[in-house]
């Protein structure tokens, strides 16, 4: 049974992937642990990220037109399959709450210090709930406009800070210990690149399933390139201080001053953060409600959008005590916590499907 009747093009999938990856990584700068070598960590992370994408897109290619919940039911049987699906849905739900929390903290620290965090979270959630209720097509169309705007502004920002850049800030190259660099690159592969595993809930709805992998990979490479440019810019502009800021992109845009006329450009970075965050939250939110609707065999996912949104808001408000704990989790726990969801479930499911020679053509696939 299809709960989603919409179809998206492969190009829309690419832009959605870019928006999804840039979504949280413009707030928490990836590769930060490697200092001024962040761009190397991102480049290495991109390679590992491509491997993760290869695994889950292989699964999606094996079961064309099926979401992960349906694939799990086919491979493991109804009960065990749904049990595994619930774990994966928890990951999406938790990820949504984490991204919401990041945005609320950004609002509170940089934009609206006097406004309660709850207000920002509820407002973003209402927009996301409205988009998700309109289906995947609307979300994909939003990504086309928003991602174009974000990439353009990121490039313009970079162009405008060129005169404040000192490329010597990037020297010496490979200054960090190898272990730190590898750990940071793994963190970068998991967050943000590996998080694209959420697309296992969306790949079923593209109009050319056989080209889904290339669409996601091109999105991953484009987003990776933007992140590398941003990392080089931040390190070159801010120097050693880059690692001390929570939001280096926002701070580096603050130095833009073109003839005392064009100033306070950082608000563009803030807009990028909000719009890309909206895309990321919407994708994981969509995956969560669609997945739950499939697990419980509902006729529509729309009735559960608002209650799930409310629960996500509550988790976002309570899941960490302070900003330092959030950054600790992003750098320490998260790269391990997500391995079972990003690599474990898709890889094991793929292996079992191959061993059982699933899906069987002509057989019972319910």
């Amino acid at each position: 049974m299809f709960l989603e009747k919409g179809r998206i093009s492969n190009f829309q999938l690419s832009t959605l992937t870019i928006g999804y990856i840039l979504g949280a990584s413009v707030v928490i700068a990836p590769g930060e642990g490697a200092g001024h070598d962040a761009w190397i960590a991102i480049a290495l992370g991109l390679i590992e990220g491509l491997l993760i994408v290869w695994i889950f897109t292989a699964l999606a290619r094996q079961f064309k037109g099926k979401t992960l919940v349906e694939i799990n039911s086919l491979v493991y049987g109804k009960i065990l399959g749904n049990f595994i699906s619930v774990f994966f849905i928890w990951y999406l739900f938790h990820l949504g709450a984490l991204v919401l929390n990041n945005y609320a903290r950004f609002f509170k620290l940089e934009l609206y210090p006097a406004t309660p965090k709850t207000v920002g979270i509820i407002l973003i959630m209402l927009v996301c709930a409205s988009t998700v209720s309109r289906g995947i097509e609307v979300l994909a169309r939003c990504s086309l406009i928003l991602v174009t705007f974000t990439i353009l502004t990121a490039l313009i920002d970079t162009f405008l800070v060129i005169r404040h850049m000192d490329l010597l800030n990037l020297m010496p190259v490979l200054d960090v210990p190898l272990g730190t660099l590898l750990w940071t690159s793994h963190s970068t592969a998991i967050f943000p690149f590996g998080d694209t595993v959420a697309f296992l809930m969306i790949l079923a709805f593209i109009n050319k399933p056989e080209k889904g992998r290339s669409a996601i990979c091109s999105g991953l490479l484009t987003a990776g390139l933007v992140l590398i440019i941003v990392a080089v810019r931040n390190a070159a502009v801010l120097g050693q201080m880059a690692v001390t800021y929570s939001y280096p992109s926002y701070i580096s845009a603050q130095v833009i001053d073109v003839g005392d006329v064009l100033t306070r450009v950082e608000v563009l970075v803030a807009i990028n953060m909000i719009t890309m965050g909206f895309l990321k939250i919407s994708v994981v939110f969509y995956g969560t409600v669609l997945g739950l609707a499939q697990v419980f065999n509902l006729r529509s996912y729309r009735p559960i959008i608002l209650p799930i949104g409310i629960l996500m808001v509550i988790l976002a408000l309570t899941n960490v005590s302070n900003t330092a704990e959030m950054f600790d989790f992003a750098n320490q726990g998260y790269p391990i916590y997500t391995v079972p969801f990003q690599i474990g479930i898709p890889l094991i499911t793929l292996i079992i499907a191959k061993l059982r020679q699933l899906p069987q053509t002509g057989g019972d696939q319910t």
Binding site: H94, L98, L292, F296, N297, L298, R299, S300, P303, I304, L306, P307, I308, I310, L311, I314, L315, L317, T318, N319, V320, S321, E325, M326, D328, F329, Q332, G333, Y334, I336, Y337
Partner: protein
């Protein structure tokens, strides 16, 4: 704060329930009601000042402890 939460949850119920009852989508109604009730309970706890356990912090402590990071 409590009144605001109750008004918000009342509005959500008013938006969803009549349509589900009219279509006789009982399974969807039960699913909605369970999630709505969970949301209401947790929201009330937060609004009366009860501190819910910070799940992410607990997960992080468990992982860093387990792997000695």
């Amino acid at each position: 704060m409590i009144a605001l939460v109750l008004i918000g949850f009342g509005m959500v119920a008013l938006i969803q329930i009549p349509g589900l009852v009219r279509k006789q989508w009982w399974r969807e109604l039960i699913c909605f009601a369970v999630l709505w009730l969970m949301g209401l309970i947790f929201s009330m706890m937060v609004s009366v000042g009860i501190t819910l356990p910070p799940l992410t912090t607990i997960i992080n402590q468990a992982i860093t402890g387990m792997f000695g990071i």
